[in-house]
Symmetry: C2
Amino acid sequence: MWETLHDISMPRPKSGTILRARTPSGQSVSLKSLAEHLGLSQAAVSLVINRAPGAKSIPQRTQELIRKAARELNYRPNHLARSLRQQRSYTIGVVVPEISEGYAALVMSGIEDHLLQEGYFYFVVSHRHRDELIEEYPLLLQQRAVEGLIAVDTAITGAAEVPLVAVSGHREVPGVTNIVLDHARAAALAMEHLTKLGHREISFIKGQAFSSDTAIRWESVRAAAEALGVTIKDGLVGQLEGESSSPELGYHVTKKLIASGEPFTALFAFNDISAIGAIQALREAGRQIPQDVSVVGFDDIQSAAFQNPALTTVRQPLREMGMLAAETLLRRIAAPPEAPYPKEIVVQPELICRASTAAARNPT
Amino acid sequence: MWETLHDISMPRPKSGTILRARTPSGQSVSLKSLAEHLGLSQAAVSLVINRAPGAKSIPQRTQELIRKAARELNYRPNHLARSLRQQRSYTIGVVVPEISEGYAALVMSGIEDHLLQEGYFYFVVSHRHRDELIEEYPLLLQQRAVEGLIAVDTAITGAAEVPLVAVSGHREVPGVTNIVLDHARAAALAMEHLTKLGHREISFIKGQAFSSDTAIRWESVRAAAEALGVTIKDGLVGQLEGESSSPELGYHVTKKLIASGEPFTALFAFNDISAIGAIQALREAGRQIPQDVSVVGFDDIQSAAFQNPALTTVRQPLREMGMLAAETLLRRIAAPPEAPYPKEIVVQPELICRASTAAARNPT
DNA sequence: AACAGCCAATAAATCGGTTTAGTATCCTAC
DNA sequence: GTAGGATACTAAACCGATTTATTGGCTGTT
């Protein structure tokens, strides 16, 4: 497969394929045929249809005739030809780890909202954490003339010749605008909530090594804990392992935490998915949620609210982050190449208190 | 906004933007510059790079020189120019109701898997059930020269001039290949499961009117019930209402069903999302799952397995359906336009028995 | 010496638009 | 009577590739 991706040659077509819309008579409506039909030049028709400044000198009467004909013959300009000539494709590329994950899907939903409103379309590619794809896809997208890239939870390695906006991705890469959560505040929100409820023995589940938020989240949690005068014991720190995004990962880590014998009354998970798995594991060990152990998730994915018990979680405004990414990217595309651009845009988390947290049973 | 979508004119560029990758010297590497660098014609370079039959007469020595230079200058052919000339865009369009829904996301994941392997890219658009968008998007996509369309859970209204494959969409539209679930079997699986457990008073939640599976699913359930000698009382049939895809919809319908006073010992929901809402409502009414009421969902989305209790559900092979759709579409694109094509491809459901169903307490 | 045939390429058309520079006609003012 | 300017367009270049038809040089044969 990578032979094909790296290969710049074109696959030999197996057979000619009809691409354009055709009139009932079987002919495609091109600018040329439209111009012939009108007895005018392509230039005149193009100017009028695009309401270009150069159409000023063409009388209203003629303009109307042209537009009428275009409508009647159902003329639709070929976007490929346009893009080629104008060096503007009105297309951007979105790189995600995996489409079917709630996280990426929500961000994409925000991206789409803004992009389509502005007349842009986008390509999506998912790399599934494979390095060769993370490197190759941005190049392939640029070959397809995207005007910019959005990387979701992905550290782009190859150099991008177009503006790049990262959602929860990089740290301080030149040329990249980062949309990031205020991690310090996110950690503080959760930890304050738990300590106020009287918890002191708190367990934390770190993300997988490949996830771009893993390091900063753990650092923030540790700092927040310290500021509140509690320490997270080494034995109470777990780490998600494995590629999949199923709750199973959280389930396994939690099993291990329980098996270690170190007691805890609260658990803060890397994300909602793993929190769900953790709850499963705790239940199997005979602990009730939230009476015996309080559990806090992260992200606020849709099903968090409909867990039993409903999950207390730190909400990331994922849809808004997507919209913000798209907005920022289009702004950067419109600006001259040397213009300054924001290095970082910080968004705020929100603590969503539901039923998976409660006062600690035996506050110390 | 729709003004813009319908308008075939081009937005006036605010400023020229750099589109192509550039060498360190600032010049983009085009076929022309590569040919000049080599002292050869563009034709020769193109033939060699594409390993075209016409390159037979060019000696190995020269071919190697050309490829070496291409590699060193990091030449990447402009896909736009290629597509325009060849009338092949290697791009398809995917139309979904809403990206962030688990259903569409899973199907897309399957689509992507197959497409990218075959060197295709795809545009995604989501219409959010708005008729004008359902009509307009396929046209916009065709204007962007897509070679085919995949519609997910969407009945395309406008005529498509390119091959179209629908996942759970149409019924018998000329030119369309349908990928559909064996609904009769799906309904039978669930209803047999429930009746074997002794349930006779079964409630069913229908989908929203706009969902393409709503009618057939209800019809199949009714038929399956009849075949098993049970009838679903009118008072026990609810219907999801509202655009959103949150469990709340299922919650509200179920509240109504409970309020109606008609007793039931089992509930079969239109999808997993609504089943989750239904469970919430039943619990609030003091019914235990599955002791008092058994609940069956539909789809088997990821979080179904990690509900409490884990959801018994009818699994749709969504990822496989996506792959199948992509595969079928590419096959149709490669075939001559008049070639016969499959009207329907049926996939099989699977009953996933988990913990939300149990024997009826008072079998009649 | 003439012709065929092969080799190693190239010139030029093409895809379907956009855009610049220009032309032909008419009107008006001096 | 004609310079100047507006009006109403058009011819042709251009975007960056692919592809067909053609060219010139060389070798070998009769």
